[in-house]
Subunit: 248 residues, 8 copies
């Protein structure tokens, strides 16, 4: 809190006007208020990455307004969990913007300002073809934030040789995102083969006693290999975001 | 690891070229990569049975491509959890192949090479009419793999005499698959009446406190009669596969 | 509510004093208050059976006081879930009373007034030897309340012939209490063999996926045979009580 | 087993032909086999009430065939969980039969032979209007089996006076079926006010932490008043069936 | 119970007729019976607020009839969980009444008699835009009952500064309703910043391990800050009702 | 934020020294740091009530140090979940202080400064004798904070007349704390009889399907009567604290 | 049922006495009744293996009596879940018998008649050292029943090379028992490497989100590799028994 | 796999003997086998950090043997979940070694070779004093592996100012480990205030609906702020290990 005293002394000594001091001391910009939402436009400054817009359960109007607020603040926009029908409406309303939508990952992006690419790579693995949407959500998020992504898909533990052929992939990555449903065993096996940190993403893929992904989640939380941490079921966005944070 | 030394000596002595040795020492054929999938074409060799294609959550294009990969590798194809609409598309795309689809079991098969039939039989029981789709998935899988299947359906424990009239069925089978929903009591009762191993399959049949099949699953896991093992809820495929493995 | 008007007219006409009318109209006797407890001494009149004293988590002093209140009201006392150590203390404090304690069922009784025995019988079955304490709690409760009890123990479904030799037992009872742990399959099987109502009692006997009796409870709730209703896990008292109610 | 010896002696002495003895000793009629089902036509004899046909998950053809089998065996038919669309098809196929369908209870009946009415009455209560379908399933089942039913609906514990005005209803019934969702408190309160046995039926009515009826189920299992037993969530049929069994 | 004796003496002394005494002593008005429902018209008198009509799972006819019963008893009507389609039908049938419907909160009101407005205010916060329907259900309910409501939306803990700018909002309210899904952390944080009581409302907003709102519910129940109590998942009505009770 | 500018202008104008301004602008007193703990001594100012010390899992030394910190800050101390053995040690170390410990509620208090007593009363009910420790924890907490408490114990719904005799208790209280285990039905019934707000406290009293109090918790969350909010299982402290907040 | 007619004709023709016919037609030997237990001495004949005595929750007297009953029937005895203290008592009471007890597996055996050894071997793997007691229970059970057992312990998936060095072990076994706690991933990996059937045994090893073994259980039920079936948590006995059944 | 061909050519050309080639090609050192365990001595090479010894459920002999194996392989040893009693035995057996044991974290270390200290710091926060053992397990693990650790304890969200005074702590750390029980809200709040990655550790601290830490776990998995990943309940070791991996 030495800064505070310093600022106050500058005010006293006339080096700083009270108005400028107030602006400096107050939390900077107000969150942009939209009535139904307060877009956290400061987040890019505070946390180094802009707020993403979680679209599930929102109207196209709400999504468009939030997106415009981010763009007006000079930031790029990432929209997650955007279904194809709503995407058409939102994309239409934002025509003229550099809009991109992927129906597989359900991500949309509006990138006005190219992001600096990072030196290292994020490796993303998934156990089966049906885990692909979640894996792509992770990949698209990390790429939006500036990471290079390398993919290794359909390497579930039922056919271990598919994974073992790619040890250099596992050992060379800066950080690994491992996506798996059913029993969620892939992160344990992967973590045992590499010194890179592993972000494990359980998916709701499966049926019956998979309990909507809870089986995979529990499996990953109980992984016998250290060096693993877990995000929510089907949370590709969270994994991609954290992977980019770790990719430094 | 004597084989390794042997191979290396053959290389030294010129009996084997380095290239041939490398091919022999490396994990043999690459899994067939389709971009979104790596069909485990080696599985037939490694495990004695080809990989089945789990269709839930996949597009018709993905399913057709995976099926063709198996067929191109000279194997038969079993497709599970294939709904009727997708089946029509996939079957159309594979016209000319010996395609067979059952809307009850939701299994499709493409059998180019007849499989040797096994000497013993697999007995498949179910507790009620509504368990039939799961029982038929087990039956169709075991038949695809070469087992003869004998069925005994709708013999739930509420009318025990229906079961007790068929003791020779129970005692004569090489392995029994017992499918039941609700309280899942049938495997316990059956196992108490036979020396054959029992594969218990809980189904999601029922309502309320059946918890989507968890009640039946727990019942079977806690069966007071030994000689029982359990597969996932509604996992007729897994039960039929294991029954064929045990039918030797 | 014709009675009310009738009473009021009797008051008006001098046939009944206001004080006597008040006594008649007010809820009769006050529950006997002990500070920490209000023994429901009216229950015998209202429900036909006296309140039982649930001893788990109570001090010997509290138990003795509650018991004396019942006895003072001219009723017999049934104490449930009374461990052996506390029983010694309580029994000592009540010396002189016709005290009886069973360490297996953990029931104690003080019967000053013999209860009329009922004409019909309650049949109590259990699946295994370790279910015995719960079965005996049911038996002791029903006997305390005036029912004759017939027992058939250790007839679990893993050895069905043990049960089938006793069809007349099943078919002759007025009501059946069926006690089972593990998968809890016995009530389904029993109900399929009799027209008597079945009270199913899950027990916490077992381990692992029995989840402390929840597996048996779910099994019984999902029983495919109608004519069954279920009480709480290990609730022998509730089953014996209800069996006596049904034994008319 | 004295009967067996007696029968054998009658055979030896020529009083009984071997063929007649075999018929007498064998379990009587075979369950009527329909390929996909074994209708338990003996059940009426063995258990005093015919098998009901659980229609959920069955095709109209399966339902019609099972119904005809019961009718051909001289029994009445009760069809449960029959949705309106399927009911139209099944009712059409059975035109000419005394078909009755209730869209509220989702029960259909075909009563060729009037059932003797019982002397006592079954009381059915429900806590709220939305519990009505389950209460009516219980009522319709008990009526089909020969019981008179008296209804007392929308008497949830949030307005206790609605219940307390009907103490004579509670105290006069032979057996009470109490249907409630949400917290499932009604059976406890009712049981404390009557000496009649209470069959508690939890419903899936509610939202959020009602967990699809599990909250009400747990509430009823833990009822502090004895004299209660519980059936599965939404199981009006089971409750009505058991009520008729107890109504003797 | 002095009142009873007093009344009886008045009867004896001729100051009160037996008929009037009976009317006074009996529970006053009968709940208005509609066959399928007993509208608790006394509730306004007994509890100070009229019964609300929970519309989920009810037919338009049932809803209209219940609403008319309340109106006929001179009360205002609040209808909850009313979807837009049913609202159109019910609103049409009640044309002429001061009908108001909000598709966001799914509340409808018919206010014939303006309610006295309270002196203090209820503060309602929500964590994200998707929690808005539940927050508005709380707000609409409290306003219907006479409270002024102040809203502060989209102030989730991921951007704490959005909340910290409004400390006077938190400290000045009479009672706070805090609505949040996902991890449900907002009530803990809010309660730590104010002396006002906090009613926490978990929502089902989120996915995967949110378990339909159970995660938020558990979070709120385990809040480390005292001064919080919790209502059911998505129960905006219950929170708004209790907030109005506390707003005195 | 006008205050900030005002302060800065005072600094500029020499009316306030930079040091004093810094002290005014900074969060006031530092939380008292003990190495292992930061006692929130400001809480009394910020929230109107001092921090309580949760003793479970802490060493006597840690408890004594935290207590002294509160006392040194001129506050009274409330210690919760303090077992008898630890209480003896802590009480010994604090000899000379006005120490009071209750083994039933497991609360200890050190009250140096008498708290002003509030005008209204908190009513505390419990369903059974075994709920007493939790009810007393609520009572002791509310009394420590300045509320008068009236108790009504052992009035569970199995004997409703015990409760109905005390309607004036229910209707006269400013706020009611209702403590119940097993099915947790008492809050619903109580809330239906009063206009006072109800704080429901589930207890872990019971066995089997009570699931350690989860059954009672779910029952209370799903209460059909509005005007109820719920705290954690066995959380008498939280209920007493909130009751005192509401008792104004 | 041709046999029945045949027998009856023999009776008629005097070839068979009624008494002998009765003995032939009746269920053969009575289960040996001990009051508290009915030892299923027929089981060896009916199912090919004698009943095992589950000792948990039984008194030493009960265990000794059940053991003697089996021995008297000419069978060997296997006692499971026998703690060391009880084992001393039981072993003492059976002095003179060929008693053997293992404190690791908690199995005791009394083998009077050597069992024929089977030609093939059962392979038993476990993931970690703490899974050893369960693995040894499986091993001891299979050995008691006549199987040769080969062990491969501490080969969890965190260090895959430990497993991959033993491919011939995996591929050569007749049946594999795979024991694992925590995430329970080992069976999936093993099954992908062999054509032998895999019996998966989840253990309660671990902590936190392992939920007492439920995490491992769910992982195994959702295994992506077919050819696996699962037994109850910590059920080494069941796995060893089934392994011996499959070892033919 | 170019290395393989290269090696084979060297063999062919006589530059490498077959024996040396075999040694190079084979997985290098065998895991050190101890009968009951296979210590993964290669792990330090493969993953950059040595295997830790999880002591829960192991005998002192097993722990000592595993420790010696690591030491003999030239590595340092970290022992986790070692209770004080066992620690005394193990420490005694290893006298002469640089043994250090902490009863708070239950970690023991034997560090023969000092580890290079890393440039950056790991920040470890915990919400309350009772979370300290888990936080210290994380801290001790990270320190053992070479990280500097800075601690900030008892900064739960109930008194937010305690945390907000340390923003520079949050913003300056390379990686943050955030330990919290109860509702587990701290990681969300922390992640919203920093760009550092957050490893969230739920603890089992709390009671009732905390469900042994599951409430905190779910809260953390559903955190609304991105940049968080979660480890198992009470898994301080896993968090400290991963923090050291990320601290590069």
């Amino acid at each position: 809190m030495g800064d505070l005293l310093e600022t106050l002394r500058a005010v006293r000594e006339g080096r700083l006007s009270p108005e400028d001091a107030a602006a400096a001391l107050q939390p900077s910009a107000e969150a942009a208020e939209l009535g139904f939402a307060r877009v956290d436009v400061e987040r890019a400054a505070r946390r180094g990455r802009p707020e993403a817009i979680f679209c599930q359960g929102k109207t196209p109007e709400q999504i468009v307004a939030s997106t415009r607020t981010l763009l007006d603040a000079g930031q790029n926009a990432l929209l997650t969990r955007l279904d194809a029908t709503t995407a058409r409406e939102v994309g239409g309303a934002l025509s003229g913007e550099p809009w991109h939508y992927s129906p597989v990952s359900r991500l949309a992006t509006v990138v006005r300002n190219p992001v600096a690419r990072k030196a290292h790579r994020v490796g993303i693995l998934c156990a089966g073809t049906t885990d692909l949407p979640v894996a792509e959500e992770a990949a698209g998020t990390a790429e939006f934030l500036g990471s290079e992504v390398e993919r290794l898909y359909d390497v579930g533990v039922a056919g271990l040789h598919r994974l073992l052929r790619h040890l250099e992939f596992l050992q060379g990555a800066r950080v690994l995102v491992v996506v798996a449903g059913m029993e969620g065993a892939l992160p344990s096996v992967v973590a045992g083969l590499t010194s890179a940190p592993v972000i494990a993403v359980p998916t709701s893929v499966g049926y019956g006693a998979n309990l909507g992904g809870v089986a995979a989640l529990l499996g990953m939380l109980n992984a016998c290999a250290p060096g693993i941490a877990v995000v929510n079921i089907d949370n590709g966005f969270g994994a991609g975001y954290l992977a980019d944070v770790l990719n430094r």
